[in-house]
Structures are given as C-alpha cells and as structure tokens.
Symmetry: C2
Subunit: 233 residues, 2 copies
C-alpha cells in the first residue's frame, strides 16, 4: 500500500469567522488524497446559547456540559456548523459526510467519572475508542468524513469531547491502515494550509507526521500527553 | 436478488413526545433487514425558535424558511433530533448514520422558485434528486441511514424539504435496487409498527408497498400527487 490520509482539525478564528472558514474550505478542497476534517465551534455555541438563556459554566477554563449545554452543542456542532461545512465542501467536488461519534458508531467515549468536579456529559476517548472498520468503510467508499466534536456512550447519550483529542486519536488509530497519516492543526488565518511547517514527529506512528501550525500555546499539554499515552498503548 | 428495504417516516406525536419516540425506536430496532428512517421535527424547532426569538412565518399553512429559520432547522433537525435518534438506535444493534441531503451528496434539491410567494430556503426534490449510488454504498456497507428533512442545492446552501416527499422519492428511487421497498408513515401512538395495515398499493413500484398508518388526513393530497408524478417519471 502507499496510502496517505490527512486529518485536519480546525478551531479558533478559522471556524468563528465566516470568511476565514470559507477561505479555509477552499484550501481544503484543493487537497489531494483522503482527508478527515475535525471541527468544534465553541464561540458560535456560546453566542447561540446566550440567545437561548443558557449560561456557560466553566471550571478552571474547561466548560461543564450540563443537559442544556449538551443539547446546545449537539445542535450547533452536529447541526449548524457541521452541515454548513459539509454543504460547502460538496461544492468543491469532495463527497463530504458529516459525522458525530454516534454516526456509524465511529467513536464511542466514556462519560468522564465524577471526582471533585462533575463535568457532566463530557466524553473521554482513547485510540481504542475509534471504530476504524466503520471509518475505513466510509473512506474506501469515497466519502470524506467531517467530524464534529461529539461522541456517544453506546447507551443512547451524546457526549461532548475535545476536538484536539479526537483529531489525535483518529490519527493514531488510522495509522494502522495508512502508510502516512498527517495531522494538521489549523486555527489561524486563511491560507495556512499552504504554509505548513513540521514541528514534531510522532515516533510511534511509523512515517506519520504530526504537524502543528503556529502552535503558540493552542495545542495543550493535556492533548500531547493523551497522544503520547495513546501511541504508547 | 431478493432484497427488501423499509423506509419509515416519522412525524407528529412520535417525534414530539420523548416517550413515544423512545417506544417507536425500540420497535424500529426490532425490524429485520435494511431500513432508512426519515424524520422532521417541526414542533421542537418551533419551541427552540421561540426561545431564540425566531417568529415562525407561514403562508397558507406552509412555513416560510428565512435565513434564521434555516439555521434553526439545520440545528434542530440535523443536530439535536438526528443525533439523539442515531445515538438511541445505536443501542439497539443497528449501525445508524445520520444524514442530511448534503452528507454524501445523497439528496440535492432545487431552491423553490419565487412566484407569488418567496418560500425562502425551501428545496424541491424529485426522484432524480436521489443519489442512489451513494445511498447504496452506505446501505451495502451495513449502515442504516437516518435522514432528516434537509437537502442541499449543490452550491453550498442547505434547504428545507418536506419529510413526506423525501420518504416517497427515496422509495421510488431505491425501488430500482431492491425487489421490495416498503414505505411506512408513522405519526401516532407508540406500538404502531406492530399493527400496520395496508391502505394503498402504489402501482408503479413493482412489488413495493405503500403502507399508510391511521392516515386520517395526515398524508396530504400534495404528497400523493408528488408521489404519483414521481413514479410516473
């Protein structure tokens, strides 16, 4: 095999600003080969939540996903943002298909255990959470997954999961099916895809590159830790 | 071949009432063979729209889909309701995958032309709108599509489309790939799937059955007309 997969995670301005998103998606459309796009949509969810009277609750900078917030992010990530992105990518000749972890059961998570803090409907994932069979079926059938940061617990509940973590575990899990898996984090200006620079090579995925882009503090230590742990496993 | 496909459209109480939906989905899970579920979610969208200050606008009983309403139904149909249904069906051993018409480009629509009334982002579809290649890829790969009533125009915009119409054109289009296509409309009590009665056999889909359930005025003449027109084509 000589198969290559590129996983791109977008966040920050790229998703919050409509013009930036549009420019990003044009760049994305010029990609050759198989791709998976991972997106959240934090600020848009907060703005819509405000209109609906849903107050965001944080603990040490991490949002707590209560029932109202879960419904909100399910609407905004899984509906509004995901479908806009999918419809736009479709205009570029790529057969995008929007997914949460529940769709095709591609990504199951464990509800985060309540210790000192109850993070609510937050889902933790590992490399083993990824249903590579289902994802490969979609990829091999010519679909290009657009994955939002929602997972499911297998018991009927959607869970809210960190986008960086999803992107990294997808890369780790799918590295078994591809010669090269590129992981790109993209959260700045339009045009960034033309100007990538490699910052770190993940030693445990053979030939896979772990590319971060202008990663000034945006890729947190927690994610790197998860990635390393996941790859060690 | 001896392939059978069942397309079930749910609406009314089945979707508005959480307990009814749950009971319906348990029944749905006991179905054998390949299925497609089609859902809207009108009342829930209106309730959430009210919280967001979006006033529904109607013309002769038909809702006009302005920009705010399009975003609302994209969130509610494509996100909230679709993902809840998919996550629930996943617990029943069926590998559900949620779709709008943009996902996998399964259903492209034409924005309704403005004549006396501008219906906004309303999409009209015909049997030719259905991408049977993409749907068959998903079905043959073992996925069970859960389709909400959103389509796309191929130019980057999501469109709002009638659920009954979507169910009927899917049945007509997929009748070429299956020996038997059953079309079930379901909008009443829980338990309805156990107690179907055939009301009308559609003559133009060979061996396909057009089953309506307690159809006291719920299946409108417009839909029947569309169905007949579609099948004649």
């Amino acid at each position: 095999m000589n198969k290559e997969l590129t996983i791109v995670k977008i966040g920050g301005k790229v998703i919050d600003d409509e013009a930036s998103l549009e420019q990003f998606l044009i760049d994305y459309g010029s990609f050759h080969g198989q791709t998976i796009l991972v997106h959240g949509g934090g600020k848009i969810a907060s703005d819509i939540g405000e209109k609906m009277g849903i107050e965001p609750v944080y603990h040490e900078g991490r949002r707590i996903t209560d029932k109202a917030t879960l419904d909100l992010v399910t609407m905004v990530y899984g509906g509004l943002i995901n479908k806009k992105i999918v419809a736009t990518i479709q205009t570029l000749g790529i057969n995008a298909i929007g997914l949460t972890g529940a769709d095709g059961n591609v990504l199951k998570a464990n509800k985060r255990p309540v210790k000192e803090i109850d993070y609510g409907f937050a889902g933790d994932v590992s490399v083993d959470s990824v249903n590579t069979v289902a994802l490969n079926k979609l990829l091999n059938a010519g679909f290009s997954p657009v994955m939002c940061t929602l997972t499911h617990d297998g018991n009927g509940s959607i869970l809210n999961t960190n986008a960086d973590t999803i992107a990294s575990i997808l890369a780790a899990a799918l590295s078994k099916s591809y010669d090269v898996v590129e992981l790109v984090y993209c959260f700045e200006q339009p045009g960034v895809l033309e100007d990538l620079e490699s910052k770190k090579v993940i030693p445990h995925i053979e030939e896979a590159k772990y590319i971060t882009l202008k990663a000034q503090g945006e890729i947190n230590e927690g994610m790197l830790h998860i990635m390393d742990t996941a790859l060690d496993a």
